[in-house]
Amino acid sequence: MSLWVDKYRPRSLDGLNHSKHLTSVLQSIAHQPRDLPHLLLYGPNGSGKKTRCMALLESIFGQGVYKMKIDVRQFVTPSNRKLDLNVVSSAYHLEITPSDMGINDRIVIQQLLKEVAQMEQVDFQESQDGLAHRYKCVVINEADSLTRDAQAALRRTMEKYSRNVRLIMLCDSVSSIISPIKSRCFMVRCPAPHNDETVNILNHVASKEKVQVESDEVLKIIAQESEGNLRKALLMLESMALCNEMQLKKSTPVIKPDWESVILKLAAKIQKEKSVGCLVECRAVLYDLLAHCIPARTILQELTFALLRNSSSDKAKIAILQTSSNFDERLSLGNKPIYHLEGFVARAMCSM
């Protein structure tokens, strides 16, 4: 197998091991598979949206949903350009990721959904109550990055073709989903696991992988550091185990991704020195971060939290928050993140 994250990923609803009440909701949905509503799963990164989605599909259609293949589909844009897109699909569902198609997502969604909707899915294998499921599921990853056009295109399609197609959309936050879509979906919030739950999962994995854990303390630290991101927690556990000869002690240093530690250092630098020279250094770091595909908003967010943690007075904290929210708006309105990030750094230097 591969990484522990993937290795110990639950594949059925019974295997899900945090947020029990949510699991029971999903189970009740799976119990009456003919009435599967359009679903909108939302929740923070690493809280198990996709895992839940696949587990739900598994409980409806059986193991076949994990037998996936990739097709290259071709789409033609209105300007006669040809788009090649990889579509992952099984016999029961198919997946699309809007970020693969850029601004042409409307065309892709329209064509793909219509194609699916036109085909009647016939199931010869009798299920328990003798009814055949006749719809196909379309999973839309990162639904919040769908353009407005594409979402508008979905509205009618969702109702018109609901006989043959059911949508499952996954997104981090619902704020960029238009309300007509929200009202047509059954919204399921996937919360991040509690620290205790994370520790339990980590314990389970560690014992399976024969990692010697000195005390639960270190797992608690990992859970704390992962900030409710289960994927991150498991990756952290694995890399720490591999780097420390499969033994975890209380004193084992927590491994962080490089970009995070760079942002922490940046925050420290901003607070230590307030000069133009420092600003130039910060600019180089910011450019580097952006070039490594770290989104500007993530940088701003991490930087803000780091600054808040380091600053002592309440007044300074309020000032930082104010500036941060101000520049967050600019980031989302503008096109040139480097100006705004640097502006934030300069403003933060002034306000402290």
């Binding site: 499969m246 595909c293 100006y339 705004h340």
Partner: protein, 706 residues
């Protein structure tokens, strides 16, 4: 003298200064004369019999003093040609005299004074010669002439064509690339077929058009030379693809020249006509694939002197009186653009009333918004002149900025150098203030995509704000503007490409696993930690069992993510090669300088260890394979005895493949696993693979069923 002309004409079928019908006749005469001399005789591509006369070197004291060297004349008697030109220019002089009589006709001077002969060209003589030289190298293939020795460059081509079949001219607009291509092609005896941006060049039509011009025989006397103008547009990819196909087909055909033809399906045709391509920007993405196939000739702006000379001639003939100073200004302003020079000159001549042409000509309105470069502009924003009225200074600056129009570039430049200029400030108050203005710029600039750029005009005030806040008398020196935006974009593209590649590879291998990880979390979480795991230092580990477990885990990971270990040159070490992961994972995830150092200092060691371990595992596996192979050989003798078993095995095999019970590839892996039941009686099956039973090998009975 007369004899010389004949001689030259019969050697080169290509008439320099073609279009002289009278001389064409003389070729035949010359040929007939020489027939009885026992000279060489062969048939040209158009079916004409051409006789070649052995060159008789007659003493040429007459031209000994001239500048022409023997190796520069491309096999043509230049001296005779020079005489020819002299007499010719005498006649064309008359022609021009008649033109003076009506100075204001409605023909554009640019067209009228387009160079028609090689000596008319104003540009760099050396470049022009390079073009001519390349074109002359086609002569053996096109005209069946022989060339003097130094022109042979490509000894491998049986047709003696130049090594690169396409000539690519590039340079700024107006320096005469198209003119050079036309003139030289004409001089070398070709008729020019031009394809430019005004022609339909997308899709399939263009393919027919090109193939028609290149491969079909025409009724014209002279062969065709294809001039493809302005090929660096974005819509030209179809056109360029055809060019590439033609050249590639030619290389294939060239390789087969000696080989007798077997099948008639072969469509590859020899390219027997030169292709000249012209573009402005050599680095346009569309040209990426064409470039390696081209002989690339850069065009520089012509020297001011030669341009001046040319303009002088024009002025004289057209009867315009311009003093040399304003002519010089014109040349300065045009920055080497010959076309715009001539255009402006005509404007002066036609539009200008007598008094303006006599007075010192004010070139300012003439300068078609000769925008100062954004680079200079950015620097001038920060340089305050103490002797000028600040108001006046600001307004002139604003005018310049608006004229330039490249607001985004200017603001970017300002933003990148403002921390390095001198200004008075309290802490970082001013940089934090300017952030509001850059935000304003961002919003206005974005209107380009939303409101058709209506708000773009407000962009001009942002650089002015920079000037107000950061302009200082102390800034005198120009500061180099580093184009960090470009580097940033390149790096970003590189990293996105690698991540996409990794994502795609893993998705292809096991979609059921990869779908759970989005691209975002791949960059954020998975790859950084993966990198961390791979670089784990296990060498100090005492417990051998744990060590083995870790190595096995790592091997699986590397295999899953399709990562290889390769030796590679690292930037920071000259010439020294180190072991790294390919694709370069470390370049995606590592940002910290210290950690980056580790890639060079620490990691190769642990990676080496890992690699050694892998090799060891592989060797062990191979050893096991060999042992099995030996055993199989022993078994072979036994198999030969029992032929009936073989036959039955074949039928079983047939059914098995029919029903997909066993895959042939499985057999190899099966063989490597050590077998346990050695004491049992073994049945051997002959396994035949492929349609014609080309591969035969013996396989054990048990492995067939497992």
């Amino acid at each position: 003298m007369d004899y010389k002309v004949h001689n030259c004409a019969s050697i080169g079928e290509s008439f320099l200064f073609g279009g002289f019908e009278g001389e064409k006749e003389s070729v035949k005469e010359a040929g007939n004369e020489g027939a009885n001399n026992g000279d060489l005789e062969f048939i040209s591509g158009s079916g004409k019999v051409v006789r070649l006369r052995k060159r008789v070197y007659s003493p040429t004291e007459k031209y000994r003093g001239s500048l022409w060297h023997e190796d520069e004349n491309y096999g043509i008697n230049i001296n005779a040609l020079l005489d020819n030109i002299e007499s010719d220019s005498g006649s064309s002089g008359h022609h021009q005299d008649t033109k003076i009589a009506k100075p204001y006709n409605n023909e554009l001077w640019v067209e009228k004074w387009r160079p028609r002969k090689f000596i008319d060209l104003v540009g760099n003589e050396k470049t022009n010669r390079r073009v001519l030289r390349w074109l002359r190298q086609w002569s053996p293939a096109v005209f069946q002439e022989s060339l003097p020795q130094p022109l042979y460059e490509n000894e491998y081509d049986p047709l003696q064509r130049p090594a690169k079949k396409v000539l690519l001219l590039h340079g700024p607009p107006g320096v005469g690339k198209t003119s050079v291509a036309h003139v030289i092609a004409k001089q070398a005896g070709y008729s020019v077929t031009e394809l430019n941006a005004s022609d339909e060049r997308g899709g399939w039509q263009v393919r027919d058009k090109i193939l028609n011009t290149l491969f079909n025989h025409t009724f014209n006397q002279s062969p065709v030379c294809l001039v493809a103008d302005e090929i660096d547009g974005t819509l030209e990819s179809g056109f360029i693809k055809v060019l590439i196909d033609v050249v590639n087909a030619d290389t294939r055909a060239t390789r087969k020249i000696g080989v007798p033809k077997k099948d008639k399906k072969n469509k590859d045709k020899l390219l027997l006509r030169p292709i000249i391509a012209v573009c402005n920007n050599l680095y346009a993405p569309a040209l990426e694939k064409l470039k390696p196939l081209c002989e690339i000739v850069p065009f520089k702006r012509p020297s001011d002197f030669s341009l001046n000379e040319r303009l002088d001639t024009i002025c004289k003939v057209e009867g315009v009186k311009v003093n040399s100073k304003s002519l010089k200004d014109l040349i300065d302003l045009s920055q080497g653009d010959v076309r715009s020079c001539v255009n402006n000159l005509q404007f002066w001549a036609t539009g200008a009333s007598p008094q303006s042409s006599s007075s010192s000509m004010d070139t300012d309105p003439m300068g078609k918004d000769f925008s100062s470069s954004w680079y200079g502009l950015v620097n001038s924003i920060f340089q305050k002149d103490p002797h000028r009225d600040p108001r006046d200074q600001l307004s002139s600056l604003s005018q310049k900025i608006e004229m330039n129009g490249n607001y985004d570039r200017i603001v970017q430049g300002c933003h990148s150098i403002f921390p390095r200029v001198k200004y008075s400030d309290n802490g970082v108050a001013k940089p934090s203030q300017i952030a509001d203005w850059t935000y304003f710029h961002d919003l206005m600039d974005k209107s380009l995509y939303q409101h058709n750029g209506e708000l773009m005009r407000y962009c001009a005030c942002v650089p002015l704000q920079f000037a107000l806040m950061f302009g200082d008398i102390a800034n005198k020196e120009d500061i180099m503007i580093k184009n960090s935006q470009y580097e940033f974009n390149e790096l970003r593209k590189f990293i996105t490409d690698i991540t996409n590649w990794i994502a795609y590879q893993t998705l292809k291998r096991s979609p059921a696993v990869q779908i759970f990880t989005s691209r975002q979390s791949l960059i954020f979480e998975t790859l950084p930690y993966l990198d961390e795991m791979i670089s784990a230092d296990v060498s100090k580990c005492k417990n051998l069992h744990v060590k083995q477990v870790i190595y096995d885990g790592l091997a699986e990971l590397l295999n899953f993510y399709q990562l290889n270990m390769v030796t590679r040159n690292h930037d920071s070490l000259e010439g020294k090669k180190i072991l790294t992961i390919d694709p370069p994972l470390d370049q995606i995830v590592l940002l910290d300088k210290k950690r980056k150092q580790e890639v060079v200092s620490k990691r190769p060691g642990s990676l080496n260890f890992l690699l050694a371990k892998f090799e060891e595992n592989k060797a062990r596996k191979r050893h096991a394979d060999q042992a099995i192979g030996k055993r199989e050989k022993e078994g072979e003798a036994r198999v030969k005895r029992s032929k009936t078993a073989m036959a039955s095995g074949n039928t079983i095999d047939f059914f098995k493949t029919q029903y997909g019970i066993s895959e042939p590839s499985k057999l190899d892996t099966e063989a490597s696993t050590p077998r346990h039941q050695e004491d049992e009686i073994r049945i051997w099956v002959r396994y035949k693979e492929g349609f014609s039973d080309a591969v035969r090998k013996n396989v054990s009975w048990s492995s067939l069923w497992s």
